[in-house]
Symmetry: C2
Subunit: 362 residues, 2 copies
């Protein structure tokens, strides 16, 4: 078992990575005899893993309840949150209860925000079961639900007490979702770590084929990069914003199509290309490096072009609602070079449109 | 103008108390030219004060929007929260915006939770316009909405950047709400400050008649007592729980009747009497001191008896859902003597029922 620590003083917590962790009682530390637990999951994930998690917790002497919310980004809403609150109240869960998020990014975000809000905050544990959640959303304490007018607009910074990553759960993950997770993996290389980007260029096909040792190295590396930036900047006042490379473009795609039509990672893949193209227009990233990113994204079997019919101008209103907009000024994450990102407000609307157009169907 | 400071290190903030503060630009520090502001209020309060607050902020050069939510405890819901989020998004408010809560406890709680949650947290300012909000709910950072199965079950600890108390707003407050505020005032004397309790015994009729100098002293004293306990224990892991004297009983009354039929302060008044009776049954509070509390509550024109038809046994299921229940054990705030409160789990169900019965219609 590999371990990465997120260092946040009295709110520090471990990320455990390994095969078969869900069936081992020690994974669930510090839960103990008599603790009440509410597992939040969706029907698909519950079918595969709920019995294992429940029986392992019962071995420890925990009292286990569960609540299922429908599967998919479009259910990342205040209504799903309310389902969780109702379950907690009906089963008399109190301030000493623990929520376990068992599932992908949607489950983690909704369950985490429920934990932040229920009785003004109870403990929670992340068990991410998708590659995207394992390398990104389960680490760092960002929780949220969507609003019809904008993604992740309602939420809290709220840290889990531990993250348990069982790499065997990826075996039941649809291929398309493995690829979506790889978009975030590629992002880490592009913004922070040229050596890791080059490692990815050499090992991308092993990752697509779920080679276990490649996956474990990859997940550990991403979690370490994420843990480092979160420790430096928990509430995204500085460096942490770099993790949003491609996300302002990507959120525009997701909102335009309606949540859940493209996977988050798919939208981020195209968004990352548009950010790379804009970096090239500004004279920073070389043409060749834009191609290297495009090639890696294509090898991860991710889209490399805007959704059918979505014109560059249609991105703009969504982009202006982004959480990174400050004092009416659009702020974007761009690349100085491969492995080095920065935040800028120094782009014109025309440059943004030109960058998007490069990856738009004509 | 009187001032009380809430000392919470980098999140410290001032409470300003005085007549006519709403019309003075300096009250709104640190808001400045170009800042975006969303005022959250209800139709009744807006009619009286929205124009004054808006024009004073516009004098400063702020860009001011507002959103009204319906009046009353029954609208302290996730739906009202959603109204605020929609207004913020429609008007393109971002992370640098500020929410101003202009109203009573319901407005403060909902607007504060909206500020805690919108884009994972933006600034907010409390302008409490009821006595209850001025002496209690606007200070200390507790925000919440209700759930059909329990009061204040969903929320956050989230501090304002300042609290502005304009005592002139009490002139438009219905008499019944003034009395409800006095229930919390009496509570401060009972749990923390015998001398203040005795001052109240001498000045209660002046307070009921809105004598301005009595009110200003009273509000300042309550805010100081609240600020002290919040500074010691922001997230209610210790002392702060003492502020809940009478609230576990009171919440049972409010939930049983449906939110908004009795005012919060009215339910707390009867709950405080029941807690006092229980303290007497346990051999702590003298019979005479129970009478002193009952007399003061009656002089404040508050109810001194359970709602029609609500039997002692009907309190129990609601009380067991209280946020203070830990490991299945009911925890109550009781009085050792007038001016001194403590937390205990050492009460039997029968003692609770006997205490309630003393203030139940036969």
């Amino acid at each position: 078992m590999l371990q990465v620590n997120v260092e946040l003083k009295e709110r520090s917590y471990p990320i455990s990575i390994g095969a078969g962790l869900l069936a081992e009682p020690v994974s669930y530390h510090p839960l103990k005899q008599g603790d009440k637990v509410m597992i939040v999951s969706n029907p698909t994930i519950a079918e595969h893993y709920l019995a294992t998690v429940t029986s392992t917790l019962e071995t420890l002497g925990c009292v286990v309840d569960f609540v299922l919310i429908p599967d998919g980004e479009k259910y990342k809403t205040l209504s799903s949150l309310d389902l969780i609150f109702t379950a907690l109240l009906e089963k008399n869960h109190n301030r000493d209860s623990t929520i376990i998020a068992l599932g992908g990014g949607v489950i983690g975000d909704v369950a985490g925000y429920a934990a932040a809000s229920y009785q003004r905050g109870i403990r929670f544990i992340q068990i991410p079961t998708t590659l995207l959640a394992q390398v990104d959303s389960s680490v760092g304490g960002k929780t949220a639900v969507n609003h019809p007018l904008g993604k992740n607009m309602i939420g809290a910074f709220y840290q889990p007490i531990s993250v348990i990553i069982d790499t065997e759960t990826l075996k039941t993950l649809p291929k398309r979702e493995v690829s979506a997770g790889l978009a975030e993996v590629i992002k880490y290389g592009a913004i922070f770590d040229l050596a890791f980007f080059e490692w990815l260029e050499q090992h991308i096909s092993e990752l697509v084929q779920l080679d276990q040792s490649a996956l474990e190295y990859c997940i550990q590396r991403c979690c370490q990069l994420k843990a480092d930036v979160v420790a430096r900047d928990e509430t995204e006042k500085g460096d942490r914003a770099l993790l949003n490379l491609g996300h302002t473009f990507g959120h525009a795609i997701e909102t335009h199509l309606g949540y859940g039509n493209w996977l988050h990672g798919e939208a981020v893949a195209v968004g990352m290309l548009e950010a790379a193209a804009l970096s090239h227009i500004l004279g920073d990233l070389s043409e060749q490096d834009v191609f290297r990113i495009e090639k890696l994204i294509a090898q991860a079997t991710l889209p490399t072009i805007s959704p059918d019919g979505m014109q560059p101008e249609e991105y703009l209103p969504y982009m202006w609602r982004d959480k990174k907009v400050l004092s009416g000024q659009l702020r974007l994450i761009l690349l100085k070079s491969l492995g080095s990102a920065y935040v800028t407000s120094q782009v014109t609307e025309q440059q943004v449109i030109d960058a998007i157009r490069r990856f738009t169907q004509q």
